[in-house]
């Protein structure tokens, strides 16, 4: 107990003794049933289909449940679903819901709620869009059964419904899912997950509160990420929004919060020195740093210029700038997918690891680069983009390129990167970002690696050889076939420099030692977490 709490407890005990009550132990017990959590960002909206930010998803998993859920082996396990049957031809899926599922308004979860929720989710999700195109009929058969008839087999059905990449297929009441389309924000936050959202305590930018839902029936299996029994060990979870890392660090040290999702690397040594605080890797799937070049405009419309840059870049430089000298926190990449996941491959990825400035200079000279300025957008309000942008600007200058470094904010990058104009007319040549490792595990979830021209992500790479492997991966019936398709995709993506990965990096999380049950994962899972 810290000094301030001790003094307060003493005062409280005195007051209670005087009044004949016994509130001090009760107060302490109540405190132990409340988990105070500092999330990565502000919960500015709370519709996980309309707003696809990670922070919204992380809060949404407390409130809304899913049909399937990824476990820590990235395999989709049944969650709301009790079982499913697939017809011989693979065209009809029949799903049965678990018994006893209830929404927070105490209405039972019915198959028609699921159908409405899937219909709302599909237009916003890459896998959902595939399913929508393949779909023939999605209907509720009875209260607990729904059937999905497809025009072609879709072996990745459970993955689509259980993945943790945003937007996840959350189930909400039919009356809400049909009233608001995918592009309109809901104004009722009713789910069937283990916690209720306490709307009247929500102060966007400051606090979000979740209360345990007594009607939730967890599965019997042990929890593993989004799969298994989501048992809440606390009654209340309070999200305390702290934009300033130094304040979050001080609050954690002072015992004012219990768990901090993403301490910055600079502050980790300070936290480690405190014997009341534990620090560990947050998400083993980590992140992939990246910068994207504009394939439509000079100089990066020339593949040889892109190859020169990729050959010269040193992922070590980027990673050191991002996470410091702790080599446990990063690794270099020879491929585009998340290392350690089943589809990671370095096939054809030698250029990514070359880090050869001299060779890059020579390639640039041979490319016909005529000194066109590179308009390099760097968001200064995001530490990850700022650090990468500074390294890139230095790299390009050393390579012999003309750099127009545009220091701006993330909101402006978000708008400007959508413009296809020439760089000197409001367009751009390159911008920096990063991708969650959890999203970079297959080519459908991972739109950054797609190269379908106008339909591709910003930069608009057009590489048919990459796109040809996406249906091959979807149709693959086993891991060996999947890996073969992804190997070919990786080779084509590297050769054409779809984008430039700058390395794979991990982040930390930190918590008070009186908190137990915290696991490493792509989401800060609050189930199974208790306080003493």
């Amino acid at each position: 107990m810290d000094r301030r709490s001790f003094i307060k407890a003493g005062v409280a005990a005195g007051v209670v003794a005087g009044s004949g009550g016994m509130a001090a132990p009760a107060l302490s017990q109540a405190a132990n049933r409340t988990l105070r959590f500092v999330p990565q960002a502000n919960l500015a909206n709370f519709d996980p289909i309309w707003g696809t930010q990670y922070v919204v998803r992380n809060a949404a998993v407390l409130v809304w449940d899913t049909l399937y859920g990824f476990d820590d082996k990235l395999e989709a396990q049944r969650q709301m679903v009790e079982g499913e049957q697939v017809s011989q031809d693979g065209l009809t899926w029949t799903f049965r819901l678990r018994e006893g599922l209830r929404f927070h308004d105490n209405e039972p979860v019915r198959a028609r709620d699921v159908v409405a929720s899937i219909n709302r989710w599909m237009p916003r999700d890459p896998m959902g869009q595939l399913l929508r195109a393949l779909g023939d009929e999605l209907v509720a058969v009875d209260d607990r059964t729904f059937r999905w008839r497809l025009k072609a087999p879709f072996p990745k059905m459970k993955m689509a419904l259980g993945k943790n990449a945003t937007p996840m297929c959350f189930i909400m009441p039919e009356r809400i899912a049909t009233r608001f389309d995918s592009f309109t924000q809901v104004n009722e936050y009713v789910g069937s997950g283990p916690m209720r959202f306490v709307r009247n305590e929500w102060v966007p930018g400051a606090r979000a509160v979740f209360q345990r839902f007594d009607g939730y029936v967890p599965r019997n299996e042990p929890a593993s990420w989004l799969a298994g029994g989501k048992r809440m060990m606390v009654d209340r979870v309070e999200w305390v929004i702290m934009p300033d890392p130094a304040t979050a660090s001080a609050a954690l040290q002072n015992g004012e919060v219990d768990w901090w999702e993403n301490p910055i690397t600079d502050l980790v040594p300070v936290l480690r020195r405190n014997r009341n605080i534990a620090v560990d890797i947050a998400d083993p799937l980590g992140n992939i740093g990246s910068f994207r070049m504009n394939h439509l405009q000079p100089p990066f419309n020339n593949p040889r210029v892109r190859q020169a840059v990729m050959t010269a870049l040193s992922q070590r430089d980027y990673m050191t700038a991002l996470v410091g000298n702790d080599e446990n926190l990063w690794k270099t990449l020879g491929g585009f997918f998340t290392p350690g996941t089943p589809l990671y491959t370095e096939e054809g990825g030698e250029m990514m690891k070359a880090a050869n400035l001299e060779r890059g200079r020579q390639m640039l000279r041979e490319s016909g680069y005529a000194g066109e300025p590179v308009v390099c957008l760097v968001a200064q309000d995001q530490p990850i983009t700022k650090a990468q942008g500074d390294v890139t600007a230095d790299l390009l200058r050393r390579l012999g390129m003309t750099v127009d470094y545009v220091a701006t904010d993330w909101g402006t990058v978000g708008q400007r990167r959508a413009l296809k104009n020439p760089p000197n007319q409001g367009g751009w040549s390159m911008f920096h970002t990063w991708h969650a490792g959890a999203d970079a595990i297959n080519p459908v979830l991972y739109n950054a690696v797609r190269a379908n021209g106008d339909g591709a992500w910003f930069g608009w790479p057009n590489v048919p050889a990459v796109e040809a492997e996406v249906p091959n991966w979807l149709a693959a019936s086993n891991l060996a076939e999947e890996r073969a398709a992804i190997g070919r995709l990786n080779r084509a993506a590297v050769e054409n420099v779809v984008y430039a990965p700058t390395g794979f990096f991990l982040g930390y999380q930190a918590w008070r030692r009186n908190v137990s049950g915290i696991v490493k994962g792509p989401i800060p899972f609050a189930w199974g977490v208790s306080k003493s």
């Binding site: 810290d2 000094r3 301030r4 502000n42 500015a44 909206n45 519709d47 309309w50 707003g51 696809t52 930010q53 916003r124 999700d125 890459p126 990449a165 945003t166 937007p167 592009f183 309109t184 924000q185 104004n187 102060v203 966007p204 930018g205 400051a206 606090r207 305390v240 929004i241 702290m242 934009p243 300033d244 130094a246 304040t247 979050a248 001080a250 609050a251 040290q253 002072n254 004012e256 309000d381 701006t408 904010d409 993330w410 909101g411 402006t412 978000g414 708008q415 400007r416 959508a418 970002t433 991708h435 999203d439 739109n447 950054a448 339909g455 992500w457």
Partner: protein
Amino acid sequence: MFAYVVRRVLATIPVMAVVALFVFSLLYIAPGDPAAVIAGDQATPADIERIRASLGLDRPYLVRFGAWVWDIMRGDLGTSIFTNLPVSTMIAQRIEPTLSLMVVTLLLAVSVAVPMGVVAAWRQGTVIDRAVMGFAVLGFSVPVFVVGYVLAYVFALELDWLPVQGYTPFSRGFGPWIENLILPAIALGTVYIALIARITRATMLEVLQQDYIRTAKAKGVGQRAILFLHALKNAAVPIVTVIGIGIALLIGGAVVTESVFAIPGLGRLTVDAILRRDYPVIQGVVLLFSFVYVLVNLVIDLLYTLFDPRIRY
């Protein structure tokens, strides 16, 4: 006087209209797109366009401005693009912490700075005077966030006397309320104390040279009465002016202070809204701040009449 007040209140209408036009136009031409932020990285350009249309951001400038002004005239500040909450609700949620911080800072600053300035002037050239001026220079030079971090480190982390962050509403008791405000108020008030102390000293030095002060001394009036009853009252007009101007300083400083001490006030609301391009919130908060500033200036003008009977409106 009453006619003057009515005239001044009416004069706020064109001022607010200009502010509204200016803010709206600035935001209209500023880069950034809330639809892109909402849609997230996975979104296609078509998704972003649909969101933009659903938010009405694809409408022409005049249509949007007209709709916004019409809503304001009906007392509706609009709805936040991100939270889907009315801007007035968001402001109401945040106004108490900011108001509390500003009031406590103002009280602290005035009650510390004015005596400091008076004593420094009274003891001109002595160690006390130099100490006060040294503090003033330091207080003016050190950024608010540095003062905040140092205070949090010493009084929260090392001594564990006060909390590092947060805000407790006044309704939960004076103790918890003030506990959360002491460090932020000192951090925010430091620069304000420096400013007021310097002005008080300078004005007092001028007043203390006046003939009537010499007369008072010759008549045997006590030192305290000379300083606080005769001199300070006559030095009050510039001091009150600086206090009024300083309100704007406080509003600006509150943005930083609220971030450092994680106080859920209007300053943080503004910054969050700007970073996300939440136009209705930015417009609502800027209008509110402008209105407060106009109002403070009016109050200051009226206060002049209290301190200087020669001033009449």
